[in-house]
Amino acid sequence: MKRAAFSQPLMPVALLMPQLIIIAVFFYWPAWEAVYSSFFLQDPFGFGASYVGADNYTRLARSTEYGKVAGFTLFFTLVVTFLSLGIALLLAVKADKVIRGAKTYRTLLMWVYAVAPPVAGFLGSLLFNQNIGPITDLFAFFGYDLQIGLNYNDTAFAMITVSVWKQIPVNFIFLLSGLQSIPVSVREAALIDNQSGVRRFWDITFPLLAPTAFFLLIINITYALFDTFGIIDIMVKGNPASNPITLVYKVYTDGFRGNDLGGSSAQSVVLMVLVLLLTIMQFRMLERRIHYT
């Protein structure tokens, strides 16, 4: 069999060019700059840079503070991903069953999707405000003194709550359309075989949802790692003190607040490698077990 080929060899290259240029300008070039400057210690104004070898990396390895931030980032990512997927799945399954007024429910559930992360963070910081926040008042009613910005665990709780709330609608939209694309015949056949709704969900519905769920898993991990920046920034009011922050936020505080470009570049390289490993792992380990129809 003859391989299909373009008569003009330059044509495919030309067609790919716009995308390649965009990737080169917005990813390869900055990524290279980050790797390069992570081996230097720079004067903020750019008057001089001295080569320090791997010093910026060994500093990170030695820093207990960096370890703490990494630990929180791991915890935060797992919890936010699990909760926002889990709650969205529950809502989607229930919304899928609603017959009357289905559109209204769905629209209401998707609404939050339109809120930008910094706005979500701002809403959160008002709701959880120590002096005037209604949620703080609610907790006080039950006898708990919620201290966002002061107590580490309370702040982490507020950040996770707002981040999960913000992400549920995206997951909900995808999971709902995933559910609705499961053929009715399959569901009916399952119904004849088994009366238990829970069994049917785990044996039939969930495996058929898996491609959607896998896609969402990646999206959610990326969201928790990176997109929550705006929420965190607003909630710690640009002044983290002893509050929990994620690795991305630390890149920002050291690089953009502290003007330590070398140290901050090293951190962003570490982050880049982590994400690379994570993606490889996800596709290697998970994709094998998922069957696309």
């Binding site: 210690l41 720079q42 004067d43 903020p44 104004f45 750019g46 008057f47 001089g48 001295s50 320090v52 503070e65 405000n129 120590q130 002096n131 005037i132 201290q147 910005g149 002061l150 107590n151 580490y152 009011k237 640009g238 002044n239 983290p240 003190a241 002893s242 509050n243 505080t253 050291d254 953009f256 607040r257 502290g258 003007n259 330590d260 140290g263």
Partner: protein
């Protein structure tokens, strides 16, 4: 700019008129006026006052136009200025805050010393015209002024007059008086006695200057970039141990590192005494619904019986290098306008920031401003208290990060996450490491 030239064959009437109008618009102002840009960090009502100063300057003469651009917080403005400098797009005037002073002054060649800028452009300059507290903070080790002090403030003690009357006490002069007399009486009267809004600034930097203690080696960092911070001084540790004790027994409230979180309880009348900025005066007049006044920051009698002046806080204006002589002349003229007594007095009245020259201070006095608002004078009076060997200021690199470390460890200590020893050991070692790194960038 050269006038537009068009070929005769396309010269229809309309295009002639159009071209004429365009060249008049484009060429007119460019010939007549020098345009300069000013990046600042003054949001809200402060930003409106900045815009007013710029508009008034533009209206006061026809040779120069200054355009103020709001760039966000102090940190964001400094970062934006640095990024612009690296790209060769720097503004003529950049506002840099106290904690960023070492970064911008350390980068020789990034700025033109304001003292040189003024004298080279025929604007009279005498450092003695400036009030003593602001004179040398933004100067180099030889005493040459590098940055023009702009919005200058100092931490002072505000108090709720009704609360103190109810408790039957007077504003505490010393911390001993506070913990033995003032605080118990205020608790009795149903108030939280104390809160403060900025631990690195009020309880650290100005703790050192108020008690005339050295804050860093190398003349508080002015003489060299290779310095270490004196965060192992027993006095500062004792102060924080006392503060923790006050929080634990209800003598003080603590709501974290956020400025407003600690100011709001005072504005709501729950807290009787609040340590804030002299620049908070204007805002408090609008928000506080009770009579309030202000006085000097208390001191520990156990440390000194002769308390000294505090450091200047706030920010300064730096003239960025790499601009034409004509633009530098415009910047110098703007600084001349800005430091005139009338403009300084207007700025002082509108915002509560202190006037930076003796002449402006005299004008405010003779105009009766302090008869109407006695609390407005506290900041400048405190900055004019006797000076000491260690009250001129401090100069430390990567200081924004050092402040972040202080905030982090103080908060850990005050919320019981860590011990006093561990907190101060961490601050000392992380700060010294940052200072060493900064010295390396300057090497």
């Amino acid at each position: 700019m050269r006038p537009l030239r068009l070929g005769k064959h396309i010269m229809k009437t309309t295009s002639v008129i159009f071209a004429g109008a365009v060249s008049a618009v484009l060429a007119g102002p460019a010939f007549a006026q020098t345009e300069i840009e000013w990046w600042h960090a003054m949001g809200g009502s402060l930003g409106e006052t900045v815009n007013k100063i710029a508009a008034d300057f533009n209206a006061s003469q026809s040779d120069y136009t200054i355009t103020p651009v709001f760039k966000g917080s102090y940190e964001e403005t400094l970062t934006a200025g640095i990024a612009a400098f690296r790209a060769g797009e720097q503004p003529n005037v950049l506002q840099v805050f106290d904690a960023g002073a070492a970064t911008v002054i350390g980068a020789q060649g990034a700025t033109v010393a304001v003292q040189d800028l003024l004298t080279d452009n025929g604007v009279p300059f005498d450092i003695q015209d400036y009030i003593s507290g602001v004179r040398y903070f933004y100067a180099d080790s030889d005493g040459k002024m590098i940055g023009m002090p702009f919005n200058s403030s100092s931490p002072i003690m505000y108090y709720n007059v009704e609360a103190l009357n109810a408790a039957g006490v007077t504003p505490p002069v010393t911390w001993e008086e506070f913990q033995e007399t003032t605080a118990p009486a205020l608790v009795e009267a149903g108030y939280i006695p104390l809160s403060q809004s900025h631990m690195p600034w009020i309880f650290t930097e100005n703790f050192f200057s108020r008690h005339n203690l050295p804050f860093a080696t190398g003349n508080n960092g002015y003489d060299s970039a290779s310095v270490t911070i004196n965060m192992d001084a027993p006095e500062i540790r004792d102060h924080f141990a006392a503060f923790k004790g006050w929080i634990d027994n209800g003598y003080a409230g603590f709501w974290g590192a956020g400025w407003d979180d600690n100011a709001t309880p005072f504005e709501q009348g729950e807290v009787a005494i609040w340590l804030g900025s002299s620049g908070s005066f204007g805002g408090l007049q609008q928000t506080a619904e009770f009579p309030f006044s202000a006085t000097y920051l208390p001191y520990w009698e156990a440390i000194t019986t002769e308390p000294t002046q505090t450091f200047i806080g706030g920010a300064a204006l730096f003239a960025m290098s790499g601009h034409s002589d004509a633009e530098n002349k415009a910047t110098a003229e703007f600084f001349r306008y800005l430091t005139s007594p009338e403009v300084q007095y207007m700025w002082h009245q509108e915002t509560g920031y202190v006037p930076i020259t003796e002449a402006a201070y005299e004008l405010a006095k003779s105009d009766g401003h302090y008869d109407r608002f006695p609390a407005a004078e506290v900041g400048i009076q405190q900055l004019s208290l006797p000076a000491g060997d260690w009250t001129r200021g401090y100069r430390m690199g990567f200081y924004v990060q050092i402040r972040d470390v202080m905030n982090r460890e103080y908060q850990r200590y005050l919320t019981g996450e860590t011990s006093l020893d561990d907190a101060f050991t961490a601050i000392k070692s992380e700060a010294d490491e940052l200072l060493a790194r900064f010295a390396q960038t300057q090497g």
